[in-house]
Amino acid sequence: MANPLKGEVIRLYKNLLYLGREYPKGSVYFRERLKSAFMKNKDVTDPEQIKKLVARGDFVIKELEALYFLRKYRAIKKRYYEPEE
């Protein structure tokens, strides 16, 4: 794997793993799928390809943050506020 990008990939993996702790289906479920998703691409050597995959990973991070926010917002709204007409 190209050296500078190795750091990027590891950083991405750690960040996703951290986010996975709050995953609704459980952190174990998340970690298994995270690992297999990364392993599937372990033989990619083209730096452009790697950059694209890392960008996709960053996109997943944003999706997870949005998921967690919406889930929390909807739960709190349902518990504390009157349903709108």
Binding site: R11, K14, N15, Y18, L19, P24, I61, E65, Y68, F69, R71, K72, Y73, A75, I76, K77, R79, Y80, Y81
Partner: protein, 254 residues
């Protein structure tokens, strides 16, 4: 004005956890249960950090009262953008009886000590649902309060607050220093990602004891019993309208 904003954050049982009552009905099971920052406190921290990013205030200080684990909650606030933290150590029996009255006394003492321009709190905690700390603190300090804030804007030494009230929205203008409590629609709290948490490790958390602030933690309340809500009884299905009327008459409803 000092340009310093104090934000109170509370460590509560995570909102997504299924709460279980202890078999002796003395309280709720907390051992080994996932805890996190109170959602309304997250919104309060976000608002303070936003004000700093807009350069309207200079420093955000996160405060939490509780045992050692409260430091994790302060760390989350630091990861969201607070500059430093203050951990007011309250443990054991004192922590079990810690309520809005004691916390508001602590917050008032700290607000004076730190010369705060604003004190922002969540409107209520999802564990005790008191909705009192902000109001009590404002009263102790004799500061104006903007509670249930869904919109906050600074205007010189005044604050314009749009409040969510039963009839709709109320806009008020109050002078600083003031106490604000955050409502759900105030903002969208940012997630404390791993890189932010790592950066926040360099930020300082000061340790303070309630006695140092001259606060007496004695509670005037005693929890007698904690129970689960009554189980919903199963419904009864009927075949015809006549059956329905008959059943209603039977149970004395009509």
């Amino acid at each position: 004005m000092s340009g310093r904003v104090l934000v109170g954050v509370k460590r509560v049982i995570d909102y997504a956890v299924k709460i279980r009552v202890k078999p002796d009905n003395s309280g709720v099971v907390t051992d080994g249960v996932k805890h996190s920052m109170n959602p309304f406190c997250e919104i309060a921290v976000e608002e303070a950090v936003k004000l700093k990013e807009k350069k309207l205030i200079k420093e955000v200080v996160a405060v939490s009262c509780g045992p050692q684990q409260s430091q994790e909650t302060i760390r989350t606030a630091l990861a969201m953008g607070a500059d430093r933290g203050i951990h007011v150590e309250v443990a054991g029996k004192d922590y079990e009886t810690l309520g809005p009255l004691q916390v508001s006394k602590i917050m008032a003492a700290l607000a004076k000590k730190e010369d705060a321009q604003l004190l922002i709190l969540g409107k209520q905690a999802i564990d005790d649902d008191c909705n009192q700390t902000g109001q009590m603190t404002a009263a102790l300090l004799d500061w104006p309060q903007g509670t249930f804030a869904s919109e906050v804007s600074l205007d010189g030494d005044k604050v314009k607050v749009v409040r969510e009230i039963d009839g709709g929205l109320e806009t008020i203008k109050i002078s600083t220093p003031a106490v604000l409590t955050a409502d759900l629609r105030l903002n969208t709290p940012r997630y404390a990602t791993l890189p932010n948490i790592m950066k926040a490790k360099k930020k300082k958390i000061a340790n303070v004891k309630p006695a140092d602030l001259g606060v007496d933690l004695t509670s005037r309340l005693e929890v007698l019993k904690v129970e689960e809500p009554p189980q919903r009884e199963a419904g009864v299905k009927v075949e015809t309208v006549e059956d329905l009327v008959g059943k209603l008459k039977e149970t004395g409803r009509i």
